[in-house]
Symmetry: C2
Subunit: 208 residues, 2 copies
């Protein structure tokens, strides 16, 4: 009797994933979310959840996949906008921060997941970061800014860069999105971190 029109396929699934992200965006930790809570936020009946996910961990894994897309978009934009090596670091950090602001919940989920309770999610996020670092290493190789480094040392440098930026996430997500002053401070600090790392790379001599 209740008339339901057919919605776009996968709509509820999206609603559920967005609901989880929304809750994460509201200071809630993903590990503490429940199925009922998420479906409530999504405006859907609890049992609908099982049509798309086996449990919350499963939903988390699918969020990691989407996170990968977000990161790739960010990488593409950075590649397009950072043309000359001059302001490379400043611009990259700025792009990162702007993406982190625009996808706050996603990045919160990422920061949480690094020490989350699902081993699979943890490994998924770690893997995304590794991929990101290896792409960064490729870009650096291509730009020939640090020509004297071995591949291995370049990988290490890229890894350290990605970690430092990722850690800045926890700073960024700890302040209000409107607090431009604090965000500017974080941007400056992150930039200096990366500059310090690159100075290190420029003067690095492989051990042995």
């Amino acid at each position: 009797m209740v008339e339901k029109q057919r919605r776009r396929p996968g709509e509820t699934r999206e609603k559920l994933m967005n609901a989880a992200l929304t809750l994460v965006g509201k200071e809630r930790h993903f590990a503490s979310l429940g199925i009922r809570e998420v479906t409530r936020q999504a405006g859907v009946v609890p049992t609908s959840f099982y049509r798309h996910f086996r449990n919350m961990d499963d939903l988390g894994l699918q969020l990691v996949d989407e996170l990968g897309l977000v990161l790739r978009r960010m990488m593409r934009e950075a590649r397009a906008n950072v043309l000359q090596a001059d302001k490379l670091i400043e611009e990259s950090v700025a792009i990162f921060i702007s993406h982190a602001q625009a996808n706050r919940s996603f990045f919160m989920f990422m920061a949480q997941g690094l020490a989350g309770e699902s081993r699979a999610v943890q490994e998924g996020i770690r893997s995304e970061m590794r991929f990101f670092a290896s792409e960064l290493a490729n870009d650096l190789r291509r730009l020939r800014l640090v020509d004297h480094l071995t591949d291995q040392d370049l990988d290490m440098t890229a890894d350290l860069v990605v970690r430092s930026v990722a850690f800045s996430l926890t700073d960024l997500l700890g302040v209000s999105p409107d607090d431009d002053y604090q965000i500017g401070q974080i941007r400056k600090r992150t930039t200096r971190f990366l500059q310090l790392i690159f100075v290190g790379a420029a003067n690095w001599k492989s051990p042995g």
Copy 2:
């Protein structure tokens, strides 16, 4: 009628805090722990919880305080054992890893708390890290290894070091405590990160 002998004061409180840590050590996330769960693990009736803590966040805050003690102990040991600057980094990293292994649950709690859901716990852990970084900066100043840096740049360097080491935590806590090979890899990688940072610091010229 049930005869209870008086235990050491604060014993139950310790049991509860240890119970929470134990659960965190078992891949559980602190944010997902419940009062009943913790009291069950502690072998105590649920209502006892309220004799010592207002809620789980409160317990978390008190754990942060204890975490401070653990960190201070580690710092003291590092200061005592790292006498000559020669192997400073290697030894410090080794001491860190050994402490992280010995207090695995504590450090897991710390890694989780950085992106946890209680703002107060988050801020507490961040504050411990700031303190740690400032102590490290003092030590570096005292050792006069990086004499040309301004105080501000030295603080930045120490901050980056602490962050890098903290991030290594998530690596470390992701592998089995018995997997000596992987742990060795993490130790080497962390060591090289710090070396890279110090090379950067040694060649750093303050902007402006």
